[in-house]
């Protein structure tokens, strides 16, 4: 494009309100504005596109939505009656009970975690941790944690009791996260752990501090 054509194209893009002097000053200040202007103007125009007509009842639809009861009014009318409140209260109490049993009482349901301390090489301590899980009916139980890069270490069925699986793992001093894997697919935290952390996927991992 010639300089005149570039100036003309830029004026079409920016608007007739731009004077010759302003266009020339702009091209001096922002010379890249003039390069490949035709292609850019076409792409810009394509983005702007034609405007389809608005439906004739647009205003009526806005007003209809405006006059519709709000979320709070709908919620109040539908849910805040006495029988529903009583039912919701009973449901909440039931849920709280389930949560309490499932979350806080869980440690009491498993065998205790036992740790045996021994002297390791170079005077360092080694902790033999006995992971144990009672899972009657399970075919396989494994433990995975950051101490074994979350690979599965199998627990063996124990003669101490029906459905009890155990394994002893030597660990160095430190804090570890872990979980049991039942039958290769179901991850569950250790009920005997002292504490648990969120695993980032909506489940909990157990934590052991040595």
């Amino acid at each position: 494009m010639t300089v005149q054509e570039t100036e003309q194209k830029l004026r079409e893009l920016l608007g007739p309100e731009f004077s010759d002097e302003e266009i020339a000053a702009l091209l001096r200040e922002e010379p890249e504005l003039g390069e490949g202007l035709e292609g850019f103007a076409a792409r810009w125009q394509a983005l702007r596109g034609e405007i389809p007509p608005l439906p004739a009842d647009f205003t009526a639809r806005v007003m209809e939505r405006l006059e519709a009861p709000g979320l709070w009014e709908r919620f109040r009318a539908r849910w805040l009656s006495l029988p529903r409140l009583a039912a919701a209260g009973a449901l909440a109490a039931g849920l709280a009970g389930v949560l309490y049993l499932g979350y806080f009482r869980e440690p009491a349901l498993g065998p205790p975690l036992s740790v045996r301390e021994a002297a390791g090489p170079e005077g360092r301590k080694v902790y033999f941790v006995r992971f144990a899980l009672r899972q009657p009916g399970a075919k396989q139980v494994a433990v995975a944690g950051d101490f074994n890069q979350w690979t599965l270490a199998a627990l063996a069925p124990s003669a101490e009791g029906e459905g009890l699986f155990t394994v002893e793992v030597p660990l160095a001093e430190g804090t570890y996260s872990y979980a049991f894997v039942v039958d290769g697919r179901r991850w569950i935290p250790d009920p005997a752990a002292d504490r648990w952390v969120d695993d980032g996927f909506g489940q909990r991992n157990s934590v052991i501090n040595l």
Binding site: L13, L33, A42, L47, G49, L54, L66
Partner: protein
């Protein structure tokens, strides 16, 4: 250079006064007066008629809910355009976070040039996405100037009237905004 107008000078202010007194029909007058401009802006940003209609409705509903926040320092049309611009950007950003829900603009998919092929349509659609991304990344003063000028189809005089800024200032913002937009596009296309 913001200037307050009395209700008798500005039909929007008069309608707003009635609206605040509980006259909902007054708000219908406001919707009637601004629906084309808001829809044009929203449609050009989204490129999808049905979604643009829905979003334009939401713009007016939000304006109604927040009427008390409008103090009359700027023109009502400036205020509602600002709500529309924010709604467009929020909508676009939320669709970017959910790519499976994203639908490419109708007018970009319908572009036949340069060759009428599926590949040409895809290129046009990705250019549209790149343009939106480049626009979204511009400093606010440039982004708003470009959107009002090109998506809202406002003249510089109308922009000045609505924003209270001088015409030469707005012209410079549009020109510099376009220059920045091109630089950003060259990096992404």
């Amino acid at each position: 250079m913001n200037r307050k107008q009395s209700p008798s000078q500005d039909p929007d202010l008069e309608a707003l006064r009635r609206c605040r007194q509980g006259d909902r029909r007054a708000f219908a007058e406001i919707v009637d007066r601004h629906k084309q401009g808001v829809f044009r802006l929203v449609y050009r940003w989204l490129g999808q008629k049905e979604r643009a209609e829905e979003l334009a409705q939401e713009v007016f509903l939000k304006a109604y809910r927040e009427l008390d926040r409008f103090r009359g320092d700027a023109k009502f049309s400036t205020w509602i355009y600002q709500i529309a611009l924010n709604a467009c950007r929020d909508d676009w950003r939320s669709r970017r976070r959910r790519p499976e829900a994203r639908v490419e603009p109708e007018f970009l998919n319908a572009q036949p040039a340069p060759e009428d092929s599926p590949e040409a349509g895809m290129i046009a659609a990705s250019e549209g996405e790149a343009l939106r991304r480049a626009l979204d990344g511009l400093p606010q003063i440039y982004r708003e100037a470009l959107l009002l000028r090109y998506f809202g189809d406002l003249s510089y005089e109308e922009m000045a009237e609505r924003s209270g800024e001088g015409i030469s200032n707005l012209k410079m913002r549009v020109a510099r905004g376009l220059a920045q937009l091109r630089r950003r596009l060259e990096r992404h296309l």
